[in-house]
Amino acid sequence: MSSTEQGTSSAAPAEPTTAPESAAAPEVPESFYYVHGKDKVVHKVSAGALQHSALIHGMISNLGYTEEQAKANPFPFENIDGDILQMVVDWCNQHKGKPTPPEDTNLPKQKEKLFDLVLAVNYLEIKELLTYCCKQVAMMVKGKSPEEIREIWMIPTDAEDEAAEKEAKKRAGKEAAGETAAAAGDAK
């Protein structure tokens, strides 16, 4: 259960709205934390849901925030797109306190987002979600020929690799020449 504030860029969000918790609420009040991605939209996430992320879990343990401090200091993940972070937060909420099933039907369906999702999930160290995502990637090439795999996984051909290598060498040579020239200029 997360709430999202659209468009604010302030570090301290103004009261994020909270979706109702499930009927079987724990007796001890649950603590919440706040995260935002590149778009600065703040997501309120329960500590239970964040358990999935080894990175955030570690941050929480190390910082020892109170709820007030947590609200005032959302965890910033500037390298993660807002919509991707939303997917991750949704998944964490859906799987809060539940054993993760071997096949996950709650995975984001947009394949075009899969690459960014994988990077985000890997960064946030969400092991189960990473495994699900990797399964999706592996499934992409089931029964495919080398040519099809090359296209699906964007693997360059040998000729493309060689051309890229040549280009990289040329660039490195130019940069080295530029540095030498600059150094000679400095010496004068």
Binding site: K111, L114, C134, K135, A138, R150, E151, M154, P156, D161
Partner: protein, 336 residues
């Protein structure tokens, strides 16, 4: 939607590779030299120790992953004359034409033996594995020497297969097959061998680890059983009688066939049923159920015992008698 796999972090890439089946890895390795290098490096770091590479002398390479039921063809070499038309997905590797059908790549060569060696080398190099199993047909005896020269590790299993028909010819007798006497373990996976009439028991048989005998001739006699020093022995279409099996068990009890761990007799007469054992064999009825190792590591089968028999040194064996079958599993101290 494409997924730029080579731009993923190392941990992610490793996890994706781990989720691929062996045939998919071989196929992906053909995408580029870089892809092949990457996959090869992966398997040099994380050796797939439970995978068993088998080669079929007619060009097929497969991998058993943990259990024999999980067996996957990964690559094949065929003669250029078998190259199909354009309807198939075509591939090219090192200048050789190929197709991609049935989930694995097939390459076509003018010299089929050369091609077979090449695809086997390709797969074993990719996974940093030795050849574990060998299945040969009538034209495949070259594979023994080739394997013995290319790797130090001994074969884990071998089989004779009729593809289309296995017949040992005049020059190549059963003695040639006995090259596998050096086999280091007890595994074998092939069935349906069909040895010609030319090959008969000559008292030289053994110590082969696994013997598959599938014949409608009567050369698999009680003598054959007694003198075949195999660990696993499969006899198909057998005309062995109750009397023969009693004699064999008597021989075993006093220390004959000491290495035998598994004997399976498939009777030619599907209604054959062994029920009468001689008293001196001291066979006792049992209903114990025990597991034993069949082929690859982790691949277990269960035997529901009907009878138990004990050797002079205390080693026990369980016997199962079914309509058309006779099975015996010996419980060696090394747990088979």
């Amino acid at each position: 939607m494409p997924f730029p796999i080579l731009r993923t972090p190392f941990v992610v890439l490793s996890e994706i590779i781990d989720l691929l089946e062996p045939n998919e890895i071989v196929t992906a390795s053909l995408c580029s030299k870089k892809a092949r290098r990457l996959l090869k490096n992966h398997y040099q770091r994380i050796k797939p120790s439970k995978w068993r590479v088998s080669m079929f002398s007619w060009g097929l390479v497969d991998i058993i992953n943990c259990t024999v039921s999980n067996r996957i063809n990964v690559m094949m070499a065929r003669h250029i004359s078998e190259l199909p038309g354009e309807a198939h997905k075509s591939i090219e590797f090192n200048g050789y034409k190929g197709t991609f059908e049935r989930g694995y790549p097939t390459l076509y060569f003018r010299d089929h033996v050369f091609g077979t060696k090449m695809v086997v080398d390709y797969v074993t190099d990719l996974f940093s594995l030795d050849i574990y199993g060998l299945i040969i047909d009538r034209n495949g005896l070259w594979a023994f020497d080739w394997i013995n020269n290319r790797q130090e590790k001994l074969l884990g299993g071998m089989g004779l297969s009729k593809n289309p028909t296995y017949v040992l010819n005049e020059e190549k007798t059963l003695d040639n097959v006995l090259i596998v006497r050096n086999a280091s373990s007890t595994d074998c996976v092939s069935t349906d061998s069909n040895v010609s009439d030319n090959v008969r028991f000559n008292r030289k048989l053994g110590p082969v680890d696994v013997v598959l005998s599938d014949t409608n001739e009567c050369w698999v006699t009680c003598d054959y059983l007694m003198y075949s020093d195999a660990i696993k022995l499969f006899v198909s279409d057998s005309i062995l009688t109750e009397l023969d099996l009693n004699s064999f068990l008597r021989h075993w009890r006093v220390g004959g066939c000491p290495r035998l761990a598994y004997l399976k007799v498939f009777f030619d007469n599907k209604n054959a049923y062994v029920v009468n054992f001689d008293e001196d064999l001291e066979i006792v009825e049992t209903n114990e159920v025990r597991k034993f190792r069949v082929v690859a590591e982790g691949d277990f089968e269960e035997i529901e015992g009907d009878y138990s028999i004990q050797r002079w040194d205390g080693v026990k064996a369980t016997i199962r008698c079914e309509l058309g079958y006779f099975t015996m599993v010996v419980w060696h101290a090394d747990k088979n």
